[in-house]
C-alpha cells in the first residue's frame, strides 16, 4: 500500500517514519504527479499559510480536491481540509485557536472508537473545529472544542499524532486505506471503528 505525505513543509518526515514502521510504502508529495497511484494521503502539520501558498505555487489545489482516496489531515493539515481551503471536509477550522506558541500543550485524549488508554496528544499552536456539517462526526474534544473528526474516509485531528510513539491513529488511517475499517455512516452510526 502506497501512502503519500504532502511534503511542501512541516512534519512530513515524522509521518513518513511512522507509516514505514507500520509497513506502508511512502512517497513524499510535492507536485501533482506525485499523487498518481496513491492509496491514501497524509497532510501533515506545519504552517497553514506556508502550506496554502505552496499548494497554490505547485498547482496542487485541483488535484488534491479531486483526490478520491482516503486523506488524513493533522494540525495545519486539518486546516487545509476545511471549507475555506481545499474544502475536502465540511468543517470550519479556527487557526491558532488555542493561542500562540506559549499556549501549546499536551493532553490525554479520549478518542471515540479508539481502543486502549487515552492518546497522548501534542497541540502546537493548534486549531479547533469551530463548525461542521451534519456528515461530520466529531470524535474527540478538548474543553468542549472539537479536535478530531471523521467524514467518510477523511480523518482530521488538530494535534500531532506523528510525534511520540503511539501509532494507533496511523493504524486506523491505514485500515481505512485498506478498506478494512468501516467508514462513518450516520444512518446506523457505527462509531469510529478501531482497526
Amino acid at each position: 500500500m502506497l501512502i503519500g505525505v504532502l511534503a511542501l513543509q512541516g512534519g512530513f518526515a515524522a509521518h513518513a517514519k511512522m507509516l514505514l514502521e507500520l509497513a506502508a510504502d511512502v512517497r513524499e508529495v510535492r507536485v501533482p504527479a506525485d499523487l498518481e497511484g496513491l492509496d491514501g494521503l497524509v497532510i501533515p502539520g506545519g504552517e497553514s499559510t506556508t502550506m496554502t501558498l505552496g499548494i497554490e505555487r505547485e498547482g496542487l489545489g485541483e488535484p488534491l480536491r479531486s483526490f478520491a482516496k482516503p486523506v488524513f489531515g493533522t494540525c495545519a493539515g486539518l486546516i487545509m481540509l476545511d471549507r475555506e481551503h481545499l474544502g475536502m471536509m465540511d468543517i470550519e477550522a479556527r487557526r491558532n485557536a488555542f493561542g500562540r506558541q506559549v499556549r501549546s500543550f499536551e493532553a490525554d485524549l479520549e478518542i471515540e472508537g479508539l481502543d486502549g488508554p487515552p492518546l497522548r496528544a501534542v497541540f502546537i499552536r493548534a486549531p479547533w473545529i469551530a463548525a461542521h456539517g451534519e456528515d461530520v462526526q466529531i470524535v474527540a474534544e478538548v474543553d468542549g472544542h472539537a479536535v478530531a473528526a471523521q467524514q467518510g474516509d477523511v480523518l482530521a485531528v488538530a494535534f500531532h499524532p506523528e510525534l511520540g510513539s503511539d501509532t494507533r491513529l496511523h493504524e486506523r488511517f491505514l485500515a481505512i486505506c485498506r478498506g478494512t475499517a468501516v467508514a462513518v455512516d450516520l444512518a446506523d452510526d457505527p462509531g469510529w471503528v478501531a482497526p
Binding site: 511542501l8 512534519g11 518526515a13 506545519g46 499559510t49 506556508t50 500562540r100 506558541q101 506559549v102 499552536r125
Partner: protein, 279 residues
C-alpha cells in the same frame, strides 16, 4: 511546526507581511539585521516591544525575537510579550560571558545557535527546544554555515559508532551531558529540531544546507538586504521545499537581481566573528 520551512529576519511590519506572503514559516523580529549590526558596531540589544508587537499584529505566522546570551530579564520580557520563540542569540552582544539562560525556567521555547555537537547539546541541556547551526551572520558567506552543519552532522554519525563504554569519554570530550550523548548515539540525531543559520543568500545556498542535513532555514540579511526581497524570499522558500530537485532550484534562482552585499568570513578579524560568542 516549523520543519522544512524558512524563518526570515524582519525589522518592521511591512517586511513581516512580505515574508509571510512569500511563504515564511515564521519571522524573527529585530531592529537591525545582522549585516547592519556588524556595520554599526556598539552594543546590540533586545528590540523595542512596540516594534515586536507591531509585527505580532501584522502577521499570523509565529514571531520570534532575540535576547542577548545570558540576559534572563530580556528573555522574561519577550516571554511576557508572548513571542512564539526566543532566540538566545550571538548576533546580539552577550550579557554573560560564562552562562547561558536557564531555559527550563521558561514556558516559551528557545532556539540557540551552535557551531558543533557539544555546544548544541549544552544548549539542549539548558532547555533549548531548537538548535540552529550558527554560520557567520550578516556576511552572506555560506562557508561557516557549512562548517558548523558538517561538524554537527559528522559528530552525530561518529557517536553512532561508539559503544556504551566509550560514551562517557565522548561526553567529556564534547563537554555535553552524558544522557544526551547517549540519546544521540542511539537515535542518530538531536532530541530537538536542527535548523541552519548564518550566511544563506541564494536558493542554491538553501538547497545546499538542506542537503547537508538542516531541517529548515533561518535567513537574516540575505532577503531584505537583496535588491528584490519579495522575489528572493519566495525563491528561497521554493528551494527549501525542492532542495533535492536541481531543476526547481535552477528555476527558483532565475532573475533574482543582486544578492546582499557580502563579506568574506575569512577576511574578518577574530573579534568580528559572531559565531565565537556562546560557551
Amino acid at each position: 511546526m516549523l520543519k522544512g520551512g524558512v524563518i526570515m529576519d524582519v525589522v518592521d511590519a511591512e517586511q513581516a507581511r512580505i515574508a509571510e506572503a512569500a511563504g515564511a514559516v515564521a519571522v524573527m523580529a529585530l531592529e537591525r539585521v545582522p549585516s547592519d549590526i556588524r556595520r554599526d558596531g556598539g552594543v546590540a540589544r533586545m528590540s523595542d516591544p512596540v516594534m515586536i508587537k507591531g509585527i505580532q499584529d501584522a502577521v499570523t505566522i509565529p514571531v520570534m525575537a532575540k535576547a542577548r546570551i545570558g540576559h534572563i530579564a530580556e528573555a522574561q520580557v519577550l516571554e511576557a510579550l508572548e513571542v512564539d520563540y526566543i532566540d538566545e542569540s550571538e548576533v546580539l552582544t552577550p550579557a554573560d560571558e560564562h552562562n547561558h539562560i536557564d531555559k527550563w525556567d521558561f514556558s516559551v521555547p528557545f532556539v540557540c545557535g551552535a557551531t558543533n555537537l557539544g555546544e548544541a547539546l549544552r544548549r539542549v541541556g539548558e532547555g533549548a527546544a531548537m538548535i540552529r547551526s550558527k554560520g557567520e551572520a550578516g556576511t552572506g558567506d555560506i562557508v561557516e554555515a557549512v562548517r558548523h552543519m558538517r561538524a554537527i552532522r559528522s559528530e552525530i554519525r561518529r557517536l553512532g559508532t561508539l559503544d556504551e563504554t566509550e560514551l562517557p569519554t565522548a561526553a567529556k570530550e564534547l563537554g555535553a551531558p552524558l544522557d544526551l550523548v547517549r540519546g544521540v548515539s542511539n537515535e542518530g540525531g538531536l532530541p530537538v529540531v536542527l535548523f541552519c543559520a548564518g550566511g544563506i543568500a541564494t536558493p542554491a545556498d538553501a538547497s545546499l544546507m538542506m542537503q547537508l542535513g538542516a531541517e529548515g532555514l533561518f535567513v537574516g540579511s540575505g532577503i531584505f538586504k537583496s535588491s528584490n526581497p519579495e522575489r528572493r524570499a519566495r525563491a528561497i522558500v521554493e528551494a527549501c521545499t525542492h532542495f533535492a530537485d536541481p531543476l526547481r532550484v535552477a528555476q527558483a534562482s532565475e532573475g533574482l537581481g543582486a544578492a546582499m552585499d557580502s563579506l568574506e568570513s575569512r577576511a574578518l578579524e577574530d573579534d568580528q566573528l559572531l559565531a565565537q560568542r556562546g560557551w
